[in-house]
């Protein structure tokens, strides 16, 4: 797919977040992913770019979508993929994480994809391991490949980001997806709005350089993209939001509220959806507005692009002997 001795694409040997990426790096990753998206729609989806390389999927949190997406991306690029699902004991997470890292390091993986409930876990692993680390979601911090796949979906539909109004709605407070998307969209020239009750917004959210709305219709007014966030069930029973029915009434996306957005606005959701909570089924399944399935498709392409880009920094002969 890519020519031999491809140009390095990322400055860092890890992908830990969007915040540290440059506009050029983001654009190059999207360009590369575009080519993989085309490849993925063909009959032969396989390449041998990562032949002989080992990719470990290390997931401390349950995930179907992201884990399988990375697995497929690795396999299509010819890597050997190993999935590890680790249950964390809440008592000694830090210790366990470093122990796990040391053990894994001895197995000499080339790439490690990690998801962990604690913010900063991917960063910690990157410091301890010799391989490339890809953050597949750390706590409420970042989920860079999600933001990249969202960006790819938007760019394919809208051409560019310049001047687009993107409303990110829902549980911003706990969302790594929101943080990564805010960084990415702002860097690429979109205008970002956050729409949520005050309990689901970080108190200093305006420091992200975004506009804050508590009223969903106002927040959606003239929006090109409506990005819904998942609300965890345990947060709907009184601590952050009084009830599911109240949340849906004021912050659930239905066709009525969507009318406030620009005609033809796109609806996105990182999945898995809570139907009838943050999004009405009628909207989620409306192929005229919903690009949720396309997001999943672009997910594989983006992860192939990320693995491709990071592999360019790997020594051709493998790591030096310890």
């Amino acid at each position: 797919m890519t020519p031999a001795a491809a140009e390095p694409l990322l400055k860092s040997s890890h992908l830990l977040g969007i915040e540290t990426l440059s506009v050029g790096e983001i654009a190059s990753l999207l360009d590369l992913a575009e080519r993989y998206a085309t490849l993925n729609r063909g009959a032969n989806k396989k390449s041998d770019l990562l032949k002989g390389r080992t990719l470990i999927n290390l997931f401390f949190e349950a995930s179907t979508r992201t884990q399988s997406s990375f697995e497929l991306a690795g396999k299509r690029l010819g890597a050997d993929v190993m999935n590890m699902s680790v249950r964390t004991s809440s008592v000694s997470k830090g210790e366990t994480l470093i122990d796990t890292a040391t053990t894994l390091n001895a197995m000499r993986p080339d790439m490690l994809v990690v998801r962990h409930p604690d913010s900063g876990a991917a960063e910690l692993l990157a410091q301890k391991l010799d391989c490339c680390v890809v953050n597949a979601g750390d706590g409420s911090h970042e989920h860079p490949t999600q933001a990249l796949l969202d960006a790819l979906t938007i760019r394919r539909r809208r051409g560019s980001f310049e001047g687009l109004i993107v409303a990110i709605c829902g549980d911003v407070l706990h969302s790594r997806v929101a943080r990564s998307n805010i960084h990415l969209l702002a860097k690429m020239g979109a205008r970002v709005r956050l729409v949520a009750p005050a309990t689901l917004l970080p108190p200093d959210a305006d420091r992200f350089g975004v506009e804050i709305f508590h009223d969903m219709r106002q927040g959606l007014e003239g929006a090109d993209i409506v990005m819904m966030l998942r609300l965890q069930l345990e947060r709907m029973s009184g601590a952050f939001v009084p009830s599911t029915r109240e949340y849906f009434r004021f912050y659930g996306l239905d066709h009525e509220k969507l009318k406030a957005a620009k005609p033809g606005a796109l609806v996105m959701h990182p999945g898995p959806m809570n139907r009838g909570v943050e999004i009405a089924s009628a909207v989620a399944d409306d192929i005229e507005v919903s690009v949720i399935q396309e997001q999943v498709e672009m997910g594989v392409a983006i992860r192939m692009a990320v693995l491709d880009a990071l592999s360019r920094g790997l020594a051709p002969e493998g790591r030096n002997a310890p």
Binding site: P197, A198, T199, P203, H214, S237, G238, A239, F240, V241, P242, S243, R245, E246, R249, F250
Partner: protein, 433 residues
């Protein structure tokens, strides 16, 4: 046919506009059709019904922002209907009822119940506050958005302080999302646990369990810090100490959206009135020192205290006929609210118009009610007051279902003569109904 009532020879006091003149007022179809110094001055109005006010005060009906009833759940104490009888006799045209009932008003359907029940049975307007936390348990917030849509005017746990600051912080943040008003009761639940009176020499001599007056200021300070964090609109339902008032004053100076009220009994009574264990003097928060009482009067006079409330809390005789510490908290107050407030006028502490403002215009503003004004087009909720009529409080004459007044036998000057809600007379002193 349109229903018209003409008032002439009135002393019109409209705290909303600052008007205080002799003049007339015309009610038509439940609204104020005309008002002014020249109205009906010369010619007799040719209206079917003319009321010669003989120089008495005609003012916006009072709004009592803190009323407990027993409906639903303990109707033997008070119903919306019986409370409305007492309110009408007290010159009160809107009562704000607390959610501390059985069941607790923490569901949109229960707000709807109160509004329908009031429409069917009550003589005066009834506006419910809904609970801020479910079952008043102080743990999880209620459906503030849906409750607002159902008609709740504010959110409060009534006479309970939310112990957990994080719960309150989130509830305030969530309320701010909807611009909803949160109303708090300031009494540290741990410091005041089991206490019957305010800590001090008198409590010591009586040997009663007591809480320090600081139990109030501690919560006032905490809640104001949380208002600062969240930007929520916040009203202290009643403060009773100088320390609290100082904290509120500082918060107002900082421009925080904070207001406060005082209960009439905290303006007229102090801790010594408990005397020989008079349980009708057991209120929540407890009666304070004379210095604190005087500070409350000062606060009303200066306007730092925004509103005066009755804190009407009817209790059956059997729960009051108990040893002091075991007796129930609460005092009825709907019919003594205006007389107590007028006392400040007679003592030369505050102008009549200023007091009426704290009893009508300001509560309407804080609660977002279309009331508390004599403006043309406003609902004709009016009270005709004789500010000088002397009378003695007799518990058995009170219209409330319960008679636990702390003012039994006390002489006052001034009370309501006639009360009108939406243009209809709901109380007339001459007929007593």
């Amino acid at each position: 046919m349109t229903k018209r009532i003409a008032f002439r020879n009135a002393r019109l006091i409209d705290p909303a506009s600052g008007l205080d003149v002799k003049g007339g007022l015309l009610m038509e179809n439940g609204r104020i059709a005309d008002v002014g110094p020249r109205l009906f001055n010369d010619a007799e109005p040719n209206d079917p019904e003319v009321i010669d006010c003989k120089g008495l005060v005609l003012a916006p009906g009072l709004i009592d922002a803190r009323v407990f009833t027993g409906e639903p759940g303990s109707e033997y104490r008070e119903t919306l209907a019986s409370a409305s009888e007492a309110a009408a006799a007290g010159g009160i045209t809107t009562i704000i009822v607390m959610p501390n009932t059985e069941p607790v008003i923490d569901e949109p359907s229960l707000v709807d119940f109160i509004l329908r029940r009031a429409a069917a049975t009550a003589k005066v307007r009834v506006a419910p506050m809904a609970a801020l936390t479910r079952h008043l348990a102080g743990e999880t917030m209620t459906e503030i958005g849906l409750l607002l849509e159902a008609g709740a005017v504010a959110f409060t746990d009534g006479d309970r302080t939310i112990r957990n600051a994080r719960v309150l912080r989130r509830a305030l943040a969530y309320a701010s999302t909807f611009g909803a008003l949160v109303v708090g009761h300031a009494e540290d639940p741990d410091l005041s646990d089991g206490a019957a009176v305010t800590e001090g020499e008198f409590a010591m001599r009586l040997g009663l369990p007591a809480a320090p007056a600081a139990a109030e200021a501690i919560i006032v300070e905490r809640d104001i810090r949380l208002v600062e964090l969240t930007g929520a609109r916040y009203h202290f339902s009643q403060i009773s100490t100088r320390a609290s008032l100082d904290i509120v004053a500082a918060a107002k100076q900082r421009g925080l959206p904070v207001t406060c009220g005082v209960a009439a009994h905290h303006l007229a009574l102090n801790e010594l009135d408990v005397g020989s264990y008079r349980t009708f003097m057991k209120v929540k928060p407890p009666l304070r020192s004379e210095a604190d009482r005087a500070a409350m009067v000062e606060g009303v006079a200066s306007g730092l205290i925004d509103i005066i409330v009755s804190s009407h809390d009817p209790q059956a005789a059997d729960t009051k006929r108990q040893p002091f510490a075991a007796a129930a908290f609460g005092a009825v107050g709907l019919e003594t609210l205006l007389p107590v407030a007028l006392g400040l006028h007679h003592d030369g502490r505050a102008h009549l118009s200023h007091l009426l403002k704290a009893l009508s215009t300001t509560p309407a503003r804080i609660l977002g009610l279309n009331a508390g004004t004599l403006a043309k087009g406003a609902p004709a909720d009016l009270v005709l007051i004789d500010p000088d009529e002397p009378f003695t409080v007799k518990a058995e004459q009170l219209r409330s279902r319960a008679q636990n007044t702390p003012f039994e036998g006390r002489r006052f000057h001034g009370r309501a003569q006639k009360t009108f809600v939406g243009g209809a007379c709901v109380f007339d002193r001459r007929t007593g109904r």
